[in-house]
Amino acid sequence: MPDIFVAEPKEKEATVPEMPYVLEKQTDSGGPIPIIQPPINTTNPVHLFSAFKKNPDGITFRDQEGEETILLFIRHSFITNIRWVLFGIFLAILPILVSLSLGFFQNPLPSLPIKYYFMIEAFYYLIIAAYFYINFITWHFNIALVTDKRIIDINFSNLVYKDVAATKLNLVQDVSFAQVGAIRTFFDYGDVLVQTAGTLDNFTFESAPQPENIVHIIEDLIGKRNDIFR
C-alpha cells in the first residue's frame, strides 16, 4: 500500500548548551575554542548582615522536614544595632580621650611599669571585642523563619536565654504590623504580630524590616489576603 504522506526526518535542532561558555582563545586555525565556565551561582545566600531574605539558600534548622522550604528569613532591622555599635566605638576611643585629658591635668594614676598598662589595655580591648561579638550574635541569632508549612520564631538574648517557638500556618488566624515613629518609617521596619488560634501563643517579630511585605507574604500563605487597604 503506497504511503500517502511520509514525514521527512527532521534534523535535530541545535540545542542550547546548559553550561554557559565564552569564546576567548583562538586556535591555530583561527577558530575560537569554547571555554566552559563553571555554572553561574544562582543561589540566594543569607549574608552576614542580612535582615530580610526571600527564599534563602544555605539555611537549615533543627526539625526541618524533608520537603519543607524556607520562604522568608527575618532578623531585626540592622539599624537597630546602631546604639551598641556607637557605644562600642565610644568605649574603644575612651582610652585615647583619657590619655589626652591626662596630658592637661596631673596624672592621678599610680606609676606602674609600662607592661602593666599594656596588659590592662590589651584586656580592655579584648572586652570591647567581646562586647561587639555578644551584641552581634544576639542580633544574628534572633531569627524568624516562614516556611511553606509553619512559622518559627527563634529568640536569643543575654547569651544564656534561647527560645524556639513554632506554629503551623493553618493555625495562623491573623497577621498585622505596627510601624510607629519617624525612624521606623524612614528605615522601613516595624513589629509584625502573628495571631494564632486558641490558647496558642502569638508571635511577634520585633523590628522586622519591610513589615508590610512580610504581612502580605504570610497572608498569601494562609490564604487570607486583606485587600481592604490595597
Binding site: V46, L126, A130, Y133, I137, F141, L145
Partner: protein, 81 residues
C-alpha cells in the same frame, strides 16, 4: 647597708602592689575565659538550631579567636607581670 635597707623598704610595697595587680588581673581574665567558654557553647548550640552554611564559620571562628586571645593574654600575664 643602711641604704640597701631603705631601698628594700621602698621596693617592698611596690612588689606587693604589683603582685596584687597580677593576681587581680589573672582572676578577672580567668572569669573572662569562662564567660567566653559559655559563649562558645551557646554559639555552637545555636548553630545546631539554625545552621547558616555561609556565615557559620565566621561566627564560630570569631568566638574561638576571642577565646584563644584571652587565653594567650592570661598566659602572657602569668609570665611577664
Amino acid at each position: 647597708m643602711e641604704k640597701e635597707m631603705i631601698s628594700l623598704d621602698k621596693l617592698l610595697p611596690f612588689i606587693q602592689f604589683g603582685l596584687f595587680i597580677k593576681i587581680g588581673f589573672l582572676a578577672i581574665d580567668l572569669f573572662f575565659i569562662l564567660f567566653l567558654l559559655i559563649a562558645v557553647r551557646q554559639v555552637f548550640a545555636m548553630d545546631t538550631i539554625v545552621n547558616d552554611a555561609s556565615n557559620g564559620v565566621i561566627i564560630k571562628g570569631s568566638v574561638i579567636l576571642l577565646l584563644l586571645l584571652s587565653i594567650s593574654l592570661f598566659l602572657t600575664a602569668l609570665v611577664i607581670l
